[in-house]
C-alpha cells in the first residue's frame, strides 16, 4: 500500500470544503463529497500504519498519529461518512439549503476524522469543536419548527459540553505541563479535570442525563445525517473517553460507579421511552442510547477493574463497530422505505431491515451475537460485586433493543410514501447492509463461536410480547397518543414572543442647552463698577495692612467681596 501522509485524513474534506466555496466549481465537486473520507479509509486499512506527523507551526504544535485503538474507529467512521455522503447527495438533490448542508457535512467529517488522529490537546479540541458546531448545521437542515427546536437544544448541549471539555483540558494541561492528549490520562491530572472532560465527552456520547438532545436531533436531521450522527459521532465521544480516562492504568471506583449508574439508567430508560415515540427515527435514536449505554457500562467496568481492560477494550470496540454499521444501515434504510409505496418492494425492504434489526438485537450467527458474547466474557473478569446485575443488564439490553426494533419496523411499515425521495437512495443502504451481514466472516475468529441457545430467548420473548400488545390494542381500540418529541424539554419550549405592537417613536427630547434666555442685558451702570473698585481697594488695603508678612496662601474658596455690576 502506498504510504499515505497522515495529515491527508482531515485535509481532504477540508480542501474540498474550501473548493466548494467557489460557486462556479460547485456542481462538479458535489459528486466528490462521498469520496472525501476514502483517504481516511485507506489510511485505516493500510497495513504499515502511516507514520505520525508533527507540525509544530500549526496552532500550539500539532501532532497527528494513528494509534491502535484509533484504527478501527477511523475505519468504520470513514466508511459511514462515505455511505452517508452518497445517500445525502441523492436524497437532498434538490433540497433548498443543499450546498449549505454539504458544507456543514464536510466540516463535520473533517472534525470527526481529525479528532481520531489528533494527539495534542489543541488539535483534538479544534476538531471536536468543528464536528459539534458543524453538525448543528446538519440538524437545522430543512428549517422546520422541529428542526429549529432541535437545533436550539442541540447547540445548547454542544456548547456546554465543549466548554466543559475546554475547562477540563486546560486544567489537565496545566497540571501535567504538556499538551499531549495521552498525558491527560496521567495520574497527576486532578479529578476535577477528568470529571469535566468526561462530562464534555459524555454529552457527545449521549449518556442518560445528558442525552436529551439526541432523540430530537436524530428525528429532525435528514436520514444520512442521523446515520452519521449516531453511527460515527457518538463513537467519537466514546473514543475521547477511551483516550482521556485512565483505563487500564488506574482504578477510579467512584467514577466507575457513577458511569455504571448512568449506563444502567440508559439501558432501562431507552426502551421505555423509545417505545412510545411516534417517529421511526426517534425510536432508532433511543435504541442508539441503549447501545451506547452498554458500551459505557463496558468502560465503567474497565474503570472499576483496570486489570480487566485488556479484555474489555476489544469487546467494547467490537460492540462499537457492530453498532455503527448496523445503526447506520437502519438509518439509511429509512429513506429507502419512504421511497417505496406499501407493497411487495416495501415488504422486501422491511424484511432486510428486520434482518438488520435482529443482528443488532444479537441474533446468533450475526456480528451482534459475536459482539455481545465477547462483551459477556469480558464482563466475567469484572470485579466481583458487579457479576450479580451484569447478566440481567445484558438480558434487558437485548430485550429492549429487540422491542425497539419491532416498534421501528412497525412504524416504518405504515409510513406514507414520500414521492420526492429519489429511487436510488436505497443503493448506499444496500452497501451498508451487505457490510453488516458479511461482518461475521470479515471479523477475525467470529464464525467459530457456537450459537448459544440463551441468545435466542430475548428476540423470541420480544416477539411474544409484541404480539400480545398488538392483540390488546386491537381489542380495546386504544389509540396511542404519541407525546411531543423531546420528552422533558418539550415543557420548556418558549411560546413564540408576540410581535411588538407598532410602538410610536419616542417624543423628540427638547435640547438641554444651558443658554438661559436672559432679559435685555441689564443697563450697565458704571457707578456699580466704581463701587466695586472702591470696595476692592479698601479690602485689599485692609488685608495687606492687617495680615502679617508671609501667611500660607488662603485656601478658602473665594467669596467675592462686593456685588458686581
Amino acid at each position: 500500500m502506498i504510504a499515505l501522509p497522515l495529515w491527508i485524513v482531515p485535509a481532504a474534506p477540508l480542501v474540498l470544503l474550501a473548493l466548494l466555496l467557489v460557486p462556479q466549481a460547485r456542481p462538479a465537486l458535489r459528486a466528490l463529497v462521498p469520496l472525501a473520507p476514502l483517504p481516511a479509509l485507506a489510511a485505516a486499512l493500510a497495513s504499515p500504519a502511516p507514520a505520525p506527523v508533527t507540525l509544530d507551526w500549526l496552532m500550539l504544535g500539532t501532532e497527528l498519529a494513528l494509534t491502535d485503538t484509533a484504527r478501527p474507529f477511523l475505519g468504520f467512521t470513514a466508511a459511514l461518512w462515505a455511505l452517508a455522503g452518497w445517500q445525502a447527495l441523492r436524497l437532498l438533490r434538490d433540497a433548498p439549503g443543499r450546498d449549505r448542508f454539504l458544507a456543514c457535512f464536510l466540516l463535520a467529517m473533517t472534525g470527526n476524522l481529525g479528532l481520531l488522529v489528533a494527539q495534542d490537546i489543541a488539535a483534538f479540541y479544534s476538531f471536536f469543536a468543528a464536528m459539534s458546531l458543524a453538525s448543528w448545521g446538519l440538524v437545522l437542515q430543512g428549517g422546520g419548527a422541529a428542526q429549529v427546536f432541535a437545533g436550539r437544544v442541540y447547540i445548547g448541549f454542544a456548547v456546554t459540553g465543549e466548554l466543559a471539555l475546554f475547562a477540563g483540558l486546560s486544567l489537565g494541561a496545566f497540571a501535567t505541563g504538556e499538551t499531549r492528549l495521552a498525558a491527560m490520562a496521567g495520574p497527576e491530572v486532578p479529578a476535577l479535570a477528568t470529571a469535566l472532560m468526561a462530562a464534555g465527552l459524555l454529552v457527545k456520547l449521549g449518556a442518560v442525563p445528558l442525552h436529551l438532545w439526541l432523540p430530537l436531533a436524530h428525528a429532525a436531521a435528514p436520514a444520512p445525517a442521523s446515520a452519521v450522527l449516531s453511527g460515527a459521532m457518538l463513537k467519537a465521544g466514546l473514543f475521547g473517553l477511551m483516550t482521556v480516562l485512565p483505563l487500564g492504568s488506574a482504578a477510579l471506583p467512584g467514577a466507575a460507579a457513577g458511569l455504571a449508574a448512568m449506563a444502567l439508567a440508559g439501558l432501562v430508560l431507552a426502551p421505555a421511552l423509545g417505545l412510545v415515540q411516534a417517529e421511526a427515527k426517534a425510536v432508532l435514536a433511543y435504541s442508539s442510547i441503549g447501545q451506547m449505554s452498554l458500551m459505557a457500562l463496558g468502560l465503567a467496568a474497565g474503570l472499576a477493574a483496570p486489570a480487566a481492560w485488556p479484555l474489555l477494550g476489544p469487546a467494547v470496540l467490537l460492540l462499537a463497530v457492530h453498532h455503527a454499521f448496523a445503526k447506520a444501515a437502519l438509518f439509511l434504510g429509512v429513506p429507502a422505505v419512504w421511497s417505496t409505496a406499501p407493497g411487495a418492494l416495501r415488504a422486501a425492504l422491511l424484511a432486510a431491515l428486520a434482518l438488520l434489526a435482529l443482528a443488532l438485537a444479537g441474533l446468533p450467527a450475526t456480528s451482534g451475537a459475536i459482539a455481545k458474547t465477547a462483551l459477556k466474557e469480558a464482563l466475567e473478569a469484572a470485579p466481583a460485586g458487579w457479576q450479580v446485575w451484569l447478566g440481567t443488564a445484558l438480558f434487558a439490553a437485548s430485550l429492549g433493543t429487540a422491542l425497539l426494533m419491532l416498534r421501528a419496523l412497525w412504524l416504518l411499515a405504515d409510513a406514507p410514501q414520500k414521492p420526492d425521495t429519489a429511487g436510488d437512495v436505497a443503493l448506499p443502504w444496500l452497501g451498508a447492509t451487505g457490510l453488516v451481514l458479511a461482518a461475521p466472516w470479515l471479523l477475525p475468529g467470529g464464525a467459530a463461536a457456537a450459537p448459544d441457545p440463551a441468545d435466542l430467548v430475548p428476540p423470541g420473548l420480544a416477539a411474544a410480547l409484541a404480539l400480545a400488545a398488538l392483540a390488546l390494542v386491537r381489542s380495546f381500540g386504544l389509540r396511542l397518543a404519541p407525546p411531543k418529541a423531546g420528552e422533558l424539554l418539550g415543557l420548556f419550549e418558549a411560546a413564540p414572543r408576540p410581535a411588538p405592537v407598532l410602538a410610536l417613536p419616542p417624543p423628540p427630547r427638547r435640547g438641554r442647552t444651558l443658554v438661559v434666555r436672559r432679559g435685555r442685558g441689564a443697563v450697565a451702570r458704571p457707578e456699580r463698577g466704581a463701587l466695586a473698585i472702591l470696595g476692592v481697594a479698601a479690602a485689599l488695603a485692609l488685608v495687606m495692612a492687617l495680615a502679617p508678612a508671609g501667611p500660607a496662601p488662603v485656601s478658602a474658596p473665594p467669596a467675592p467681596v462686593t456685588g458686581e455690576g
Binding site: R525, E527, L534
Partner: protein, 128 residues
C-alpha cells in the same frame, strides 16, 4: 492740628469725596469731574509728602534751595542771593514729586480731553 496735617487732610478729603461721588453717580460729565478731583487729591498728598521731607530738614539750610539759589546768583553775576518773599514763598519742596505732579497734570488733561470727546460722541441723549 500741627501745620503739616492740613494739606494731607485736604488731599485725603478730596480723594474720599471723589471716590464717593464716582461710586454714586452715573452721569458722564460728573464722573470725569470726579476723576479730576481725585487726581488733584493725589497730587496734594504727594506734594505734602514732598514738602514734609523738607520741613524735617528745616534745621539745616535746605540743600536744594541753597544750591538752586547759588547757581542763580552766579549766573546773574550778583553776589547776594535774592531772598524770596519771606513767609509766603516757602522753601522749594523735593523737585521729583513736583515733576511727578506736573506730568500727572498733563496726562490728566489729555485723558480728560479724550473722555470728553467720547462723552460728546455718545451724545447728550443718554446722560443717565
Amino acid at each position: 492740628m500741627t501745620p503739616d496735617l492740613i494739606y494731607p487732610a485736604a488731599g485725603a478729603g478730596l480723594i474720599g469725596l471723589a471716590l464717593w461721588r464716582l461710586a454714586t453717580c452715573g452721569d458722564t460729565l460728573r464722573r470725569i469731574m470726579a476723576l479730576n478731583v481725585l487726581a488733584v487729591g493725589i497730587a496734594m498728598l504727594m506734594l505734602a509728602a514732598g514738602r514734609e521731607t523738607l520741613m524735617l530738614a528745616a534745621g539745616r539750610e535746605t540743600s536744594t534751595l541753597a544750591a538752586g539759589r547759588d547757581t542763580l546768583t552766579r549766573a546773574a553775576g550778583q553776589d547776594t542771593p535774592q531772598t524770596a518773599g519771606a513767609g509766603f514763598l516757602q522753601a522749594a519742596a523735593d523737585p521729583v514729586p513736583q515733576a511727578f505732579v506736573l506730568t500727572g497734570i498733563v496726562v490728566l488733561v489729555a485723558v480728560t480731553a479724550a473722555l470728553m470727546a467720547l462723552a460728546e460722541r455718545l451724545g447728550a441723549r443718554d446722560g443717565d
